[in-house]
């Protein structure tokens, strides 16, 4: 440690307070504090008053953990074919592609974290709520397969509204596909760290996101399978305070740790120190 370049914590900005331009003030949705965009960027998009974690783009997310300059994106150009011809889905995808500069809601690639070579992926919530369709599922699967072949750990950051209904049953099957790829990676005794960020729900929670050897969650992020409204309507029960938050998951023993954004990189590297290089044992791991 120490010989590797840490990413600058100012990755998203780097401007100084004194020359902050006007008109870039943002209200923290949690505490109401007025936050300057540049200040927020310097702070990895976390409110310094109440620690509210704003959503990161996939690019920002990967930059926040990868050694500087180490990230090499793969499968950049994969995009959906709108396989069902589902209503205005094709148009929608084009709009989101233009708006985000991404082809779909997932960014994956090779990187190193404190010198540990890993396959890393992050979901981008701006793109159709980072729902999982064929492309998201395929990119995750390919990243895991490369990791299995190159005997590397996988780190996945999830943030998703769940399966993408616009691709129907094909989206549901991505749950099986990603989990099967993880089954092989797991059987090869390789580490997988899943980091749950706001919000992780539905078919993403019920597949790769909950299969981590280690599961981290960002503070206060929403994590769940069924939507709270559906649960309320089905059960006619009042939901407990803090239901489906990272803290609720922690209380119930469902995640290993809650980690503030600024500490994620260090925790990943600490854990990778324990888990890799993986032993090249024979046989199946359960």
């Amino acid at each position: 440690m120490g010989i590797f370049k840490k990413p600058s914590l100012k990755v998203f900005g780097g401007g100084k307070k004194k020359d902050m331009p006007e008109g870039l003030w943002i209200n923290c949705p949690s505490c109401g504090a007025m936050l300057h965009q540049l200040e927020l960027d310097e702070n990895l998009k976390v409110c310094h008053k109440c620690l509210h974690h704003f959503t990161l783009t996939a690019e920002e997310r990967i930059k926040s953990v990868a050694d500087q300059g180490s990230f090499q994106e793969i499968d950049v150009k994969l995009e959906t074919t709108d396989p069902l011809g589902f209503l205005d889905y094709g148009e929608k995808v084009k709009t989101y592609q233009q708006r985000t500069g991404l082809k779909d809601a997932m960014v994956t690639g090779r990187a190193s974290i404190s010198g540990h070579p890993v396959l890393v992926g992050a979901m981008d919530f701006r793109f159709l709520g980072a729902s999982m369709g064929s492309v998201v599922g395929e990119k995750i699967t390919r990243a895991i397969e490369i990791a299995t072949k190159e005997r590397k750990p996988v780190i996945l950051f999830s943030a998703s509204g769940g399966a993408r209904m616009h691709e129907g049953i094909l989206s549901l099957m991505q749950m099986g596909k990603t989990s099967a790829a993880l089954a092989r990676h797991h059987a090869a005794r390789l580490p997988y760290i899943s980091v749950l960020t706001h919000p992780t729900t539905g078919g993403v929670t019920a597949s790769f996101a909950t299969l981590g050897d280690i599961i981290m969650a960002e503070p206060k992020c929403m994590i769940g399978f069924a939507g709270p409204r559906v649960i309320k309507e089905t059960t006619h029960q009042n939901l407990p305070t803090g239901f489906q938050t990272a803290e609720f998951m922690m209380d119930h023993g469902l995640v290993d740790m809650i980690v503030e954004r600024k500490d994620i990189r260090n925790r990943l590297s600490e854990i990778l120190d324990y888990l890799s290089p993986a032993p090249t044992g024979q046989g199946r791991q359960r």
Binding site: E79, E138, I169, L172, M173, G203, I231, R284
Partner: protein
């Protein structure tokens, strides 16, 4: 069995009623009304053919949810023999929504798991409308492990509106229970055949649906979201579920076309609820045939094929 007509079946049932009434009233002078009876019978046949030959996806969804449809335990009675039920997940409870155990089908001894719905309020309270809790998925995995250990193939019968959306289910990690099954079933070292017999509701269905062969009863559906849920999201109107059912392509025929499933098992005219025995016989024939095919294969080859099958799911392209 007195069958409850679905709305679109009403013309058929009306003609049937006319026919029966005429037969009853004419019981002394049958000959005089014979031509009239024949006429009505022809009309009945024509109407049945018309209605049942072009069922819409939404109508099939109705059939798949028919309260008199054969459920898992009906198939266990008619297609299987000697069911020995095993209870509990060994951690928290026994989920009555997911009966599991040993059974015989044809010449095969198998481990069987599936979703069980109730036919009335009391049964549904017990079976939780076929919506399993984490305990159901964990019990399923427990019996899958037994199957693996003792070299028995697995048959799963899928019929659920979805995994249960409840506080306890979330607290006990329903998401993990499903995810874990997906991962473990991918490498389960025994053949697995899954049949969607009614509702293939999303993750709750897939949680016991990773298989070497996936079959669907003709009027079952398999979907990432219920048509009602989809309509609510798209149009804020659950009544538009028929449009959603169409757009989502959730019928057995659609899934065959999309190469997701291997076989559509034909149902008796109007749906399996019109004839449990015939439906069960067809399911048995298909399941036994698939098990016969899988039986001779090496497990390693089987697992490779199971992986390739999952691997093939998805449609994408390289952007220019």
């Amino acid at each position: 069995m007195n069958i409850e007509p679905l709305d679109f079946e009403k013309p058929i049932f009306e003609i049937q009623r006319q026919l029966e009434q005429l037969k009853r009233e004419s019981s002394g002078q049958r000959l005089e009304v014979e031509p009239e009876i024949e006429e009505i019978e022809r009309k009945l046949q024509k109407t049945r053919a018309e209605v049942y030959s072009k069922l819409t996806p939404a109508q099939r969804v109705q059939i798949s949810r028919h309260p008199q449809r054969p459920f898992m335990l009906d198939y266990l009675q008619h297609s299987f023999q000697d069911f020995v039920e095993l209870h509990g997940d060994r951690h928290f409870g026994d989920d009555a929504a997911m009966p599991s155990g040993f059974a015989r089908i044809g010449n095969h001894k198998v481990v069987v798991t599936g979703h069980q719905k109730g036919r009335n309020t009391k049964e549904n309270l017990h079976r939780n409308f076929g919506s399993a809790h984490p305990e159901g998925y964990r019990k399923a995995l427990r019996v899958f492990r037994l199957a693996e250990k003792f070299g028995l193939p697995v048959v799963t019968l899928i019929d659920t509106p979805g995994a249960f959306p409840g506080i306890g289910a979330e607290e006990r990690n329903i998401a993990e229970a499903i995810a874990f099954n997906l991962r473990e079933m991918a490498l389960l070292r025994t053949p697995v055949v899954s049949v969607v017999i009614g509702e293939g509701g999303s993750g709750g269905a897939l949680g016991i649906g990773i298989a070497d062969r996936v079959l669907m009863m003709e009027n079952s559906y398999y979907s990432v979201i219920s048509p009602e849920g989809c309509a609510a999201i798209l149009w804020k109107d659950r009544k538009k579920a028929p449009e959603a059912a169409e757009a989502l392509r959730i019928s057995a025929g659609d899934l065959k076309e999309l190469n997701i499933i291997d076989e559509v098992i034909p149902e008796p005219a109007g749906g399996a609820h019109h004839d449990h025995f015939a439906a069960a016989a067809r399911l048995k024939e298909s399941v036994v045939r698939q098990l016969d095919e899988l039986k001779g294969q090496s497990i390693d080859k089987l697992l490779d094929q199971r992986y390739e099958r999952l691997r093939s799911y998805g449609r994408l392209q390289e952007a220019k």
